[in-house]
Symmetry: C4
Subunit: 219 residues, 4 copies
Amino acid sequence: MSRPPRHFDREEREVEFSRALAFSDGVFGVAITLLITTIDVPHVEGPDLGSKLTDALKELDGNILSYFISFAVVGLMWMHHHRLFSRVRRIDSAALWLNLLSLSFIVLMPFTTELMGDYGDEPIAISLYALNIALAVAAYTLLWWYCAARDMLAEHLTRAQIRYELATRLFISAGFLISIPIAYANARLAQWSWLAFGIAQGWISAWLERTGRAPSGDG
Amino acid sequence: MSRPPRHFDREEREVEFSRALAFSDGVFGVAITLLITTIDVPHVEGPDLGSKLTDALKELDGNILSYFISFAVVGLMWMHHHRLFSRVRRIDSAALWLNLLSLSFIVLMPFTTELMGDYGDEPIAISLYALNIALAVAAYTLLWWYCAARDMLAEHLTRAQIRYELATRLFISAGFLISIPIAYANARLAQWSWLAFGIAQGWISAWLERTGRAPSGDG
Amino acid sequence: MSRPPRHFDREEREVEFSRALAFSDGVFGVAITLLITTIDVPHVEGPDLGSKLTDALKELDGNILSYFISFAVVGLMWMHHHRLFSRVRRIDSAALWLNLLSLSFIVLMPFTTELMGDYGDEPIAISLYALNIALAVAAYTLLWWYCAARDMLAEHLTRAQIRYELATRLFISAGFLISIPIAYANARLAQWSWLAFGIAQGWISAWLERTGRAPSGDG
Amino acid sequence: MSRPPRHFDREEREVEFSRALAFSDGVFGVAITLLITTIDVPHVEGPDLGSKLTDALKELDGNILSYFISFAVVGLMWMHHHRLFSRVRRIDSAALWLNLLSLSFIVLMPFTTELMGDYGDEPIAISLYALNIALAVAAYTLLWWYCAARDMLAEHLTRAQIRYELATRLFISAGFLISIPIAYANARLAQWSWLAFGIAQGWISAWLERTGRAPSGDG
């Protein structure tokens, strides 16, 4: 408290994080529901309406696949966000801003989801989707690191634990960034690489924990 | 606890389900409100605006009917979801994923509602709407069964009670699936069959409970 | 409890109304925010962009006015809903359905608001807007009456108090219904009549309370 | 309590402000998430799809910039709103209406954000965006002043403190109003002036607090 406090600092330190959490939960809930706006009801008319409509609906396959992928991604991010905040003891102005930053990338998801749904074969669409997720994970990791480094979490983490958690999270973010050049070679391959990265990360984590190489702790 | 825990398992077991419930309530609330986007204000211009507008509004009858049907359906599903979670004592990672799965079908409702509203005479539109509800009910039933089987509910259910509840819920899901071939014979009849199934299910349940054939319990 | 309970009855009686209230608050919050979708950004292009844009924005005056009217209406209904539920002690299945019914008319507001905003001179647009509010108030009144008649409120109301409250609420609903024929004579006059009814209702209530003619009580 | 109470007054004074806060948080959360609707996925087709799509996406730069500016603005307003309400002890009907008024300007943000995103070089678009923020800040300041003047806050504020806080808030509002004539000289300069005003306000506040010229207190 010796340095002069920033403008919002003094008061917001007292803001119960439960409120920030409720706001974040609301944003996650609305963002995940707005994903439905990425699937548009087709407009067909004239004779032979039934078969035209069926054909138009079949062309929505990319949008429907993108919808479910994004639903799982945003749902997974919500679980992580949720878990982080359930262990946060206090919060300050900088953490609120980092939280807003990570939410701003979550809220972008309906846009990049629709982009990928509409133009699933275009590398630029795949790349922007991957970039969106990479930035969301990176912003969330920054928030996590800030809370951990400032000892705002309920349990104290050792430096080794923090390094391990950071590495785990940045591995995911890096995986999505690496998929961008892959998309320019083969759009479909880039999408499969996301699944591969996710599974690899799960296996590596499980292996490290099983072999006792992961720093133990509640983190 | 002898098998190695899955990646999220350890921590999420501690996540208070109240948070998951708040998130779910939010998603239900937004999804039910987004149903209004299925009714578009018509665009008419030129002379004789009043009668053109009145005609265009009359053509919205299918959309308005679909809106109220879906409002009741999503509202009913919220009540069931709500009731399930009010009896859940603890939650784990798999239950959170099953919950996300069932929410993903709820969030699809504005799409299938608009589809049925715009193309109420087309079997494909009716079928996809019925399929959406069948999948939502099935996913919810899976979530319910998982919680009941793992003894996560506040009260212990006997196997007979679990079987009875499963049968009740799957009866609804099956009813909507059966309406799909009906829709290809007669679209209107398929819609009436939903009402018939709902009423039948209510009567059968009431009859089983009155005659003591339903396994007693709080479930 | 002598009559056989309806299907959901038994359990839902135990559902804490706080959850139903949180769901309702969410629906109100989303519905009032979706009102912004009734004002569309105009699309203009070509030379002289600035003055074309200014002209197009001036034509939005009806939409902006409708937006603020509906914001006040939905806000006022939320306050009433809020006040009712803050006094409810318990809730049952029928009350939950009546609550859903009144929410379904609240959620319709963005549609009728956009209709009135786009076609402010057409009697049919004004009429449907008035009908929407009349139905929302009527459904809410039914919910209130049900809770009051079944003695679900925190304080016991006398029959005279219930009659007085019903009359007050139905006066508003009737006012909006009466404005429908007025709209066919003069659209603008119908809109002013809403304000007049609102003010009249406020004056009459205040006068009845001041002169001791209103049944006393906390209701 | 000697003057006759206004129509809602008596009861609403008892309404726990926590509910009003939950409603407001919900509106903020939905409004900030609806900002994503201001970025539309471009529609291109035909040969050379990839480069057409890339070009169309580059033209979204104004929309994406506007999105992040508005996300920060609405987020900042939420933090202020949040901080105000965390210190409010009681609330009355007038405060609820002032709260609704300030929310009605927050909810307008997706409209003015899209306007600025689509027509970033037009003075009218910049001006309406600035006007929206100025009105939102002014309405919020009015709400704050009402609560402070009626001694509804947890801590008692001296007149000097109230004056100081009012001046700080109105400085921001005035800054946005002053940017309107600037926009007619140079649209880009007006946008930079917002940043300059924000930084200036931060510096002045910090300087006043450091030099002891700001009235001390928790406000």
